[in-house]
Symmetry: C2
Subunit: 208 residues, 2 copies
Amino acid sequence: MTDKQIPDIVVGRLPQYLRSLQRMGREGRTLTCSQELGERLGISAAQIRKDLSQFGEFGKQGTGYQIAYLVEQLQKILNVDHEWEIAVIGAGDIGNAVARYKGFSNRGFRVCMIFDINPDKIGSQIGEFVILDYANLAETILAARIRIAMITVPADRAQEVADRLVNAGVKAILNYAPISINVPEGVRVQYIDPSIHLQRMTYYMDES
Amino acid sequence: MTDKQIPDIVVGRLPQYLRSLQRMGREGRTLTCSQELGERLGISAAQIRKDLSQFGEFGKQGTGYQIAYLVEQLQKILNVDHEWEIAVIGAGDIGNAVARYKGFSNRGFRVCMIFDINPDKIGSQIGEFVILDYANLAETILAARIRIAMITVPADRAQEVADRLVNAGVKAILNYAPISINVPEGVRVQYIDPSIHLQRMTYYMDES
């Protein structure tokens, strides 16, 4: 969009704006404003206006934002104006839930394959997917030009899986294993670890 | 610990430090330093020292940190030096995976009950749990003095579930439904939405 460096923390809020706006759209709404968006998200209206203004002029003073237009612009900015195919590594409980998750479709993502290392699982079905052999991970991902993967294996295996994914050209990893993984520059990792989120709340709670 | 207000962003990093230190402990290690911790986490050593110094003196210049001691201190700070019981609302794929998740036990949490609204599910078993009737949510949670819950219901139902949980005395909600929910002051919400994390990475990726 622009050449200037936008802080990660600003970028990090855009998906929340997009999600709320898409929801308003589904509710049949056509216009909104930073105040309303802020109330839905628990973010100040001023912050939202400031964040969005880094990317362009999306609203008119006094009339607010056209929801459909802003959705489209945010999808372009976040590179989700098309669907990315995702590989899931690990067909345990979480891999299962993620592979069958209905929530990706209007957000720019589609799980397209799932791998496991367990011979009892390979070849069996999860929803629409046949579980693929982890031994063939690199060539399968390379051939399909997959750039995004989710790791849902135990913590002890996560780094090895990440290394293989990176070698196969994956540039973004969503890691559900409760461990930090190291990736080379140019590859991004995000983490989903429910205990981390829970501890961020218990800090503020009285003992009991 | 102290009366001064610690920024949320600092608090937010403590669970990552704790997780890494616990892992080092399981690896049989007894000492570490901010440099090593930083390399594992992709956070600068100076940042780690600064964060920890807000809570006390945990290490000695030149000798680093005693892992077991720092783990214990962080568990106290984060209020996870005991186990919190958690209720899960929604026995779909994600609720299932979360209820059976093995990773909570050494992190300060234990799922103790799961609810659903679907008569076909109520009374049936997930792992060690019998699925409870959502109609009895409030009294069951009140009686068990549950303070933490995870919402794994569809987006459309999440706010109503959150309202009921708050009325039943819940103070911390981990929301897996892809929607922002409103809670009164004194109640905390954290979100797990994989699409949000994925979009935070696709922003930086070339189209393809």
